[in-house]
Symmetry: C2
Subunit: 202 residues, 2 copies
Amino acid sequence: MKIYEFTQAPNPRRVRVFLAEKGINVPYEQVNLFTADNRKPEFLKINPMGGLPVLELDDGTHIAESVAICRYFEEIKPEPRLMGVDAKDKAVVEMWNRRMEFEVLWNIANSFRHTSDFFKGRIPQVKEFGEVSRGAGLKRLEWLDTVLADREFIAGPRYTIADITALIGIDFGRTTGIKVEENQKNLARWYQAVSSRPSAKA
Amino acid sequence: MKIYEFTQAPNPRRVRVFLAEKGINVPYEQVNLFTADNRKPEFLKINPMGGLPVLELDDGTHIAESVAICRYFEEIKPEPRLMGVDAKDKAVVEMWNRRMEFEVLWNIANSFRHTSDFFKGRIPQVKEFGEVSRGAGLKRLEWLDTVLADREFIAGPRYTIADITALIGIDFGRTTGIKVEENQKNLARWYQAVSSRPSAKA
């Protein structure tokens, strides 16, 4: 078993933090995004979408998509539960993880993808969409601050995959100047707590 | 228990088809998107994102996000399995469902959201992004045709939530002229099969 990933990219970090919280060690193999190794024919056989990370199982199966990889490890080593404990909680955690993906991580990632020199020539960039996404990302952090007024973590009283997704999204905000603001007291308290966990360094 | 939804929108249909495959009946309450009832304060208390569908449990919990709602029902009534049977299969199904969301449904939905009169004034439309998304959606259907060359359904030999997501995405393509082409033989065979299931009418 091994995981193809790239240390500097946000999605691979989601899986690394998830595994650190679970206490699972998997060998990593770097696929250099800077030199577009993820777009070479050899890698496209592993993941035709070209995305990282990808989990390779011992039988040769390749699992792409960060959350699908997390699901695999949640199933084979359930504790500590990061994706919910029963039907209702699993659904609540999935809802919050998706909100953190689509509202926070994606807006922030798209603000970078559509405005950065890095993605010039790699994707059809639409600068205006990058700016709309940046504005949306900033608004979503304001909203997330209000969400965190009545709870310790994003999906409730326990740390879950939703916290990991939000942390990675917010940290990636450095690429376009998006960050937790001082007046966002609840968000700042949460950010301090999740950033201080040893897993955040994974 | 009830589900807030709107019959003409694509995401609510994902949940209706999923429940039809499971043989589960849940009362539906319509929230009219045409009159923007999903943006009224009353509904934003149920889902601050304004999205449909939303599952309301008897204890008052609200579960938004289609796949989170499906997860709840997969947990309380596992058969027939639509989200995988064991750790590896659950991860494979989640990978394919996410690919169908991000590569097919989202590109098609964004081609509509960013170019249609319906969304004018509702979201910050970026026409160029809508056109880029439309082009990407068309390319992804070409790719999906090749994926289906060696398998009956999208995630392998069994019908899963990934087939539901792809079906709803492709059917929504009617809004911007995206459809299965005659020369896409594998995709056409699959489309015919999944469209013929009684659940497709849900």
